[in-house]
Symmetry: D2
Subunit: 341 residues, 4 copies
């Protein structure tokens, strides 16, 4: 057994996704997404989001983010995002590649959240052709540090985006965890908050692989199927992505998986608050806990077999829970940590 | 049930691939390919190909071909391929996109096979900087029309490639079918024949998705992991691609699946040879049969529920068999066709 | 002295362009095109073309064509052009590079001219996402083989373009020669014929370097200044491109230079018609003459010091005249040729 | 007359460049750089730099920098540069476009100069494939803020570059001013200091347009002529770039122009040091003076007709001198400023 709070992408396939994948394997299916599983999954997304959005499926989050961003700008444009955004720190230049050169403009804000002021500063500081023109605003929901934008915060961001004619992209690598955390509808936190395109991750939500891209602004989706094909993101046996998605959506596992992961993170966070020598760095609002512990303790925890990522310097531990995290694992982790402090 | 000889990508996941996928789902795994399944699968490829090649896994064939081609040339170079090659006719410009502009130079030859003369003609007709410099030769094995290059033909191609300093890329979308057809070792038909990079498809061989890229010339693989990441081709839960591959390799299903598909195609081909009014267009050497039948008969077959692709004008039917094609399906198809002729 | 009919880009700077360049050098000027010369030249283009078009200046024809094409399509789209079009045969993949991968679809037609039938065939032969979607039609006026589209031919092309929602790009590397040949207004042969974007070459018309790009459809010009900047096509000392252009436009040299070159080509063509053993390949409608002469004669002409390009196999000589070609040169060339036949 | 210290690209063509341009215009010339002027200019560069480097000519600095950087890395690599570097702040994403997505990693250092520590920090902070791999180090000589790297500083940078296998690119937009400032040979400050590629600007040195790219590491220049062609940077009438370069090199104006501009900047700097209320921001080591004056004074200076750029917030004035700046202009500027303070 792997002892870890490393990432929700260490987890396997949840039963509901697996069940539908097996069903989809029961017979042959038309290739390239012209099958029933794909049509049904797309329709289910439209129901869940209460709008007639365009739905596409791609293999992973890097592709979902970079291709959807590329559909919103040209190579000589720029994308505003937080300096901690995944598209800046962990995609190896994928947005730049997919867009053939668009720059990311790095904003700031507490808790990994872009502030309207920071956005405005980036957008207004230059207006000459020697600097790429801002066209897109990318928000990560929840953020890379496990915090969640409130609806009010999204409204304030939309206001500044409207003022400067920016499209809004939402990186929803853990979108379900944000919905579970906020207790609002998917529609409220996306298109009703002015989001134009959402990348909704299935991989971290309990699938083997596969992301949904939802275009609430359908004009942005023009010829997006060609873009996916050209970029190597059109699955020939598409139903093995769409059927598991359907499993998550029809069973409600998309939300219950996220709720479970969030609950584990809350439980872990609470346990850690009672451990002397452990200091929270960010508020735990979704499925990640960020704490500072002494460097030797981190090393000792690894010696005990625990896997986790570090963050922002030596003192920071990132602890991510998943759909299959158990409270026993949390207890074991906390006990091990306590024994070392 | 879908009645079809449409494509081997209509088929589902074969038992051997599924079994290993289930095993890989038994516990959590390290992300991004640093897991044991991926290491084992790569080692198995090295054993099978009897050489210490570099092995990468990507999601689909479009990506495998376009990224590996991009690793062999720059944007101002060109790639020689047959005018019927998949990279020219069915990738929506993916090689051009991945390479940021490399051109494909289209050669000719009977049965979908490039001739050395055709290659030489393309490579020598221009030598000025107003035309992209040829750097790569791409062969499809088996070809798009179901024929297979012999070892002698590959040797002749290698000779011309060497003369003009061209790297050789092999599009192995149905590579296993070629190996089964030739009855030679994978090594013989690739690096021993001078192939530098092979794209070996798992999708058409019985997996849900996933291709292996084998660099026999390891220098070409420098930083290829970065390239895959940037292009959105690094699976976070990589083991769900590598474990099924391991299932195919360890069980031998990679070859038996292909042999079965080839046998079905041979059987179908033989049955069709006895049907008056059916004319073979290409020789059946792998898992595809190309025949001409009258247009109204094709329509009538579709009315009976059969799915298949047409090829090269109205008269051509492309009939592809797969790992799960049954002789009963062949018989039913032939009977239906006979009843219409 | 260089004895040649090699190309109009062997010629130097004509007096009218030089005079304005000297004037522009009389004092310092604001950089990056915010100077008066640039504003005046752009206004003059609008007057000449009788429409409020957007005007940009870039360094050369490769850039003009490839950047303007890129503004009309995305990487997963395609551009229809004649198989002899310069953008296909002599730009080293520049359109593919500038557009990040758009494919050129090669049409046919007598005398280097695309026929409506050929366009329609290319546009309708595929409609699936595995092949790039046609979005632009590029016509070269005059063509690479020195012929000129009539207004009727352009109207027929526009009709098919409208039917399939294609934008029209005109490669006007020798645009002035076409205007001189047809005896119509620049407006007639461009936007009144449905052309959306024209690349009008100054280099071949008597300048040191510099091309104008005219967007008759102003929406296509959105942020095109950023595109030029990013692609390395924004001259800091822009006035040294725009002032010579102004010289050509204000003096009328843009047309008289072209007329002179056309006259020389006509004269050369007529002289050659009287030489036994010389066969015209294409009709001489602008400033180029294409003739077949025996291979040994071509070699002998080169031995006498003459420079020219060959075309379409060994038998073809391409003879291009320019603003500074003299009738004496024509006479000398013809005399030398006669002496060898 | 334009009253300004705006930029050296406001100046026209110096007499030595103009004279050679006129000579080159005396007769026709072979196109695309196969002329004698180009050959002679390239040879002169080799003499001046005392090494057999590869020499290419392109139209402007954006192209020179971005294409040469692209020749040193792939799309998934990164380029280390100072946060104030022109390639970061003023090229509208040209390096990202030319390289199809390479990221710039922004280092720091006093006076616009990268420190070895800053480089090392950027290069070592990540080593995973989720972040682009550093391959190139770009130094601007002189820097954007008018300071000049000493030979010792370059040696220290080379040491860290060697340790991490980074190629060194030198942005020499005002290279001649650095040579004049340091009083060393061009070879000393480039390849003897470990520079692999130099972009040497002719535009700011007294030409209408045109930059030289010198590859001291000839392997990096492989097929660079194709790259230039594809990117729209191959001038057909190349001699109108190379002949003026030859004029600068043969006359020595390349250095005397720079020396004059530097002298004017020194004189201006000294005069301003005696003006109360004016504070130098950076040391004047080449041809630019950076001073802080009260915002109302800047406005009043503009009202008097002076043009200049501001820098780093409201208080900063950037004053650039050129080959044709006169001491009278300096005196007038200083007098006007004094009258306002």
């Amino acid at each position: 057994m792997l002892k870890h709070f490393a990432s929700d992408n260490y987890s396997g396939i949840c039963p509901q996704a697996m069940e539908y994948m097996m069903q989809a394997n029961g017979m042959d299916g038309i290739a390239y997404g012209d099958d029933e599983w794909t049509a049904r999954a797309a329709d289910r997304f439209r129901e869940l989001f209460e709008t007639d959005c365009e739905v596409f499926f791609v293999f992973n989050g890097t592709a979902a983010n970079s291709l959807s961003l590329a559909s919103m700008c040209q190579s000589y444009h720029s994308v505003v995002c937080h300096e901690l955004a995944h598209i800046e720190t962990d995609e190896c230049g994928a947005p730049e590649f997919a867009s053939n050169g668009a720059k990311l403009l790095l904003g700031t804000g507490e808790g990994g959240k872009l502030t309207p002021e920071s956005i405005e500063h980036l957008v207004t500081k230059r207006s000459d052709i020697h600097y790429p023109k801002p066209k897109v605003l990318s928000v990560t929901q929840p953020t890379e540090v496990g915090t969640v934008y409130t609806l009010d915060e999204l409204a304030a961001i939309r206001e500044v985006a409207d003022r400067y004619d920016l499209k809004i992209h939402m990186d929803g690598a853990r979108f379900a965890n944000a919905v579970a955390s906020l207790g609002v509808s998917p529609a409220d936190v996306t298109w009703r908050s002015g989001v134009d395109v959402l990348c909704f991750s299935g991989t971290k939500n309990g699938m083997a692989m596969g992301e949904a891209i939802l275009f609430f602004d359908r004009k942005l989706a023009e010829d997006f199927d060609y873009r996916c094909k050209q970029a190597g993101q059109l699955a020939s046996k598409m139903r093995f992505i769409s059927a598991p998605w359907l499993g998550l959506l029809e069973s409600g596992a998309w939300l219950s998986n996220a709720q479970h992961a969030n609950d584990c993170a809350q439980y872990l966070s609470q346990q850690l608050q009672q451990v002397e020598g452990v200091k929270h760095i960010f508020e735990t609002q979704a499925n990640a806990v960020f704490v500072e512990v002494p460097e030797p303790v981190m090393i000792a925890m690894r010696d005990k077999g625990w896997r986790f990522y570090t963050f922002i310097g030596a003192g920071g531990m990132r602890l991510v829970s998943s759909w299959n995290t158990s409270k026993a694992e949390v207890d074991e982790f906390v006990a091990d940590l306590k024994s070392l402090l």
